[in-house]
């Protein structure tokens, strides 16, 4: 406990601006999806909302950083940020949990039942000829959901040549990138703690390179899936779970990479000290979390 005062920010326009931003965002998003396939321009509202979001976030973070640098934050308040981040990551874990849960249910119950196995196997009467396999290449109703031509598991050869053909199984590369980047971000952290600014900048830079490589490879994989493998969002439950899980993960990698990029820029501007750098630490937690999710993805989506 310190004698320094706990900083209660004066009233602020930022949160309210953020709330309005999110209002515009959902109006835009809902109108955009409703108008999908028509030539309306409701997506412009969505873009407006994104612009508002970036602006608000920029000012908000700037404010928080200024406050810290002005020495307004006592140790207790800094702990508040630590708790806040930790619980935020927990909420993200639970978000992914919902999708892993869906995958587990589909694989252990829904698909076997549809295919005539297990306690509700009688369901197969409705889908004559359908067999339960995983990855699910033949959907129960091919007229509505044409199954994928190839799946994403370990034996996928990327036989269509091109870059992907040369590289082989992309998830392996991505695993290497992401695992290594967890290590590099840790080394960067050590550098910062030891007051070695160059070590920090260099290793954080390497982390970012690996992170962006991951995103590029993921993009390449999606390109392969859509253009050569006949695996899309609409190819039944395999494509559904594959793209939703890897997609949300990829989205989080992007977020993490943006956060770390900002941290690098801040470091180049002389922010952070050896014992006060929670902004970066929070970003690195996030990065480790994204890494753990990837490990689960490799296990449950690609390999098993």
């Amino acid at each position: 406990m310190s004698d320094q005062p706990y900083h209660i920010p004066e009233s602020s326009k930022l949160p309210f601006a953020m709330a309005v931003t999110l209002l515009v965002l959902i109006i835009g998003a809902a109108n955009t999806v409703i108008d999908l396939g028509t030539d309306s321009n409701s997506y412009l509202i969505l873009f407006l909302a994104f612009a508002m979001m970036w602006t608000t976030m920029f000012f908000w973070f700037r404010q928080v950083i200024h406050e810290n640098q002005a020495g307004l934050n006592n140790p207790m308040l800094k702990d508040s940020y630590v708790y806040g981040m930790a619980w935020f990551i927990f909420s993200e874990v639970m978000f992914f949990f919902a999708f892993f849960f869906a995958l587990a249910y589909i694989r252990n119950f829904a698909v076997p039942w549809l295919g005539g196995e297990g306690e509700k196997g009688i369901t197969n009467m409705l889908w004559p000829g359908f067999e339960a396999t995983w990855p699910l290449m033949m959907t129960p109703d091919q007229a509505i959901f044409e199954g994928p031509k190839e799946d994403m598991s370990l034996n996928t050869a990327y036989s269509h040549g091109g870059l992907a053909g040369v590289l082989g199984w992309l998830p392996l590369w991505n695993t290497i990138f992401l695992l290594t980047s967890s290590l590099t971000v840790h080394i960067a952290h050590l550098g910062l703690k030891n007051g070695n600014r160059t070590q920090f900048n260099v290793w954080l830079g390497m982390t970012l390179v690996l992170g962006y490589l991951f995103v590029i490879f993921q993009g390449l994989e999606y390109y392969e899936a859509y253009s050569h493998m006949g695996l899309t969002l609409n190819t039944g439950i395999y494509g559904t779970t594959f793209f939703m899980l890897t997609g949300f993960h990829g989205f989080h990698v992007c977020l993490g990479a943006i956060i770390l990029t900002v941290m690098l820029l801040r470091s180049l501007n002389g922010h952070f000290t050896a014992d006060d750098h929670f902004g970066f630490e929070a970003g690195s937690w996030y990065w480790h979390f994204v890494d753990v999710v990837w490990v689960c993805l490799v296990a449950f989506v690609y390999v098993m």
Partner: protein, 529 residues
């Protein structure tokens, strides 16, 4: 010790800003608490008005006032608004007001985030309610929005519904992060976890539940969004999915959600009972362990809402046993309340009357919950008015009574004025009588076979439905009296002391503050022995 600094540039030192911007931009926990409470109160009248439409239509068999499609929208929005717009925000309002005061903190840990959590809610509900005025109408698939009625067969306004649920989820998660952080980080020196007031404990556990399950709700509505607009097949057997998957994910959120609506109530009621029994709460630590057990168990009972979807036998039995277990910790709480009253020195001010009614009527609701947990019997009860009776007993004379009790209990602290005790008692008795006229007969019509979400029903249910509707109208009008009492108290009345109730000084830090408390709650953190 921790003190407060606020970066006032030019304004005077104490007191809030003036005018509307005070409310839009505030970072003060009491202001935000007040905003939450007024939002919730407003939504109670909106959701209550929808209940009045439902009851008016069900007054007699046949279609009189509204058509089925509008009726379904009323049911759905009534449920959604009451759950997400009344009970939850009201408890967050109490948390904002009381947690810093009870743990001796200057404010909430993350005040700007706190403002954001609040202002997201009016946005989300604005969107939700506005769908009712769109040509296709609002959500009409029940507050549980089972796929595929809510996906393939839904009006396109379902997209607005989905995004507004996302926003509500973000609001709850941010609010809970704030509450957990405040409780873990900002307690006054000397206040160990096992010395925390029970309301704070209730909220600590609730916040944990919220952070665990709100993302799951966000996940399930995201799956819906994808199924509706982007051709995925989570809930479509033709692509290998399963409509029942929706229910599993939804209820994984939904069951903890119902405890989210009762754990803070347990806390409030505990404080009131110990105050007016003039005796410390019986079995404090078992109260804490009971709430924790309820929370943990709540993650493994979700499928008791799905006993008729055709789960394998082992699943049905597992979820039955797990659900029944929850009666034990809940029972412990009820017994502890009774033991607190036993050999006390009891007086019957309005908050105490509501708290006593809570204990009795919540227990009745708990009993019917236990009956629903018995799988074979649930085959007969499921989706009838028996279920409606169950959850209104735990929610209305449960959560809502606890909120009303808490409001009477702390209103003098908040406003500095005592409420009118005679009017308060009148409010209690009218509410108590009408709530039972409204919801008790629902057990009977349910057992006799009236399904829920029906705008029209067979003739043998007519008598009781009329009685129920009359009770409901009385209940509705009575709440206008409550509104009147609250406004009257805010505007004036006998001045309240800082102790407000006899002997509360030892019960909690909030009673050491002035009534109303200063703008910054504890500028210097107090020391707890």
């Amino acid at each position: 010790m921790s003190t407060v600094v606020e970066t006032h540039d030019h304004e005077g030192h104490h007191g809030p800003a003036k005018g509307l911007t005070r409310w839009l931009f505030t970072t003060n926990h009491k202001d935000i608490g007040t905003l939450y409470l007024w939002l919730s109160f407003t939504m109670l009248f909106v959701g209550g008005a929808m209940a009045m439409v439902i009851r008016a239509e069900l007054f007699q068999p046949g279609l009189q006032i509204v058509q089925p499609e509008f009726f379904n929208q009323m049911t759905t929005n009534h449920g959604l608004i009451m759950v997400f717009g009344v009970i939850m925000p009201a408890f967050v309002g109490f948390a904002n007001w009381m947690i810093p005061m009870q743990i001796g903190a200057p404010d909430m840990a993350l005040p700007r985030l706190n403002n954001l959590s609040f202002w997201l809610l009016p946005m989300a509900f604005g969107i939700l309610v506005s769908t009712l005025f769109m040509p296709e109408g609002g959500p009409n698939f029940g507050w549980t929005f089972y796929a595929p009625l809510s996906t393939t067969y839904a009006p396109s306004t379902v997209n607005f519904f989905i995004f507004s649920v996302h926003i509500m989820g973000i609001s709850s998660i941010l609010g809970s992060i704030n509450i957990i952080t405040t409780i873990f980080n900002m307690r006054a020196p000397g206040m160990t976890l096992m010395k925390m007031p029970l309301f704070v404990w209730g909220w600590l556990i609730t916040a944990y539940l919220l952070i665990a399950v709100m993302p799951v709700l966000a996940g399930v509505v995201t799956m819906m969004l994808m199924d509706i607009n982007f051709g995925t097949s989570f809930f479509n057997a033709a692509g290998g999915g399963d409509p029942v998957l929706f229910q599993h994910v939804f209820w994984f959120f939904g069951h903890p959600e119902v405890y989210i609506m009762i754990l803070p109530a347990f806390g409030i009621v505990s404080h009131i009972i110990e105050t007016f029994s003039r005796k410390p709460i019986f079995g404090y630590s078992s109260m804490v362990y009971a709430m924790a057990s309820i929370a943990i168990l709540s993650f493994v009972v979700w499928a008791h809402h799905m006993f008729t979807v055709g789960m394998p036998l082992a699943g049905e039995l597992f979820f039955m046993y797990a659900t029944m277990l929850i009666a034990i910790p809940t029972g412990v709480k009820v017994f502890n309340w009774v033991a607190t009253m036993f050999r006390g020195s009891i007086s019957f001010e309005t908050p105490m009357l509501f708290a006593i009614a809570f204990v009795a009527l919540f227990t009745i609701g708990g009993f019917s919950g236990l009956m629903l947990a018995i799988v074979p019997a649930d085959f007969q009860y499921h989706d009838t008015y028996f279920v409606v009776a169950h959850f209104h007993y735990v929610l209305v004379p449960g959560s809502l009574f606890a909120l009303i009790a808490g409001a009477y209990y702390w209103l003098p602290k908040w406003t500095g004025n005592m409420y009118d005790e005679t009017l308060g008692k009148l409010h209690f008795w009218l509410t108590f009588i009408s709530v039972n006229i409204t919801f008790f007969p629902m057990h009977f019509v349910g057992l006799a076979g009236m399904p829920r979400r029906y705008p029209d029903y067979a003739l043998q249910f007519a008598d009781f439905n009329m009685l129920i509707s009359m009770g409901a109208f009385l209940f509705g009008v009575t709440q206008l009296l409550f509104l009147f009492i609250v406004i009257k108290t805010i505007r004036g009345g006998k001045k309240a002391t800082s102790e407000v109730w006899e002997g509360t000084r030892d019960l909690g830090l909030e009673w050491t503050l002035d009534s109303p408390p200063p703008h910054h709650t504890f500028t210097v953190q107090p020391q707890v022995k």
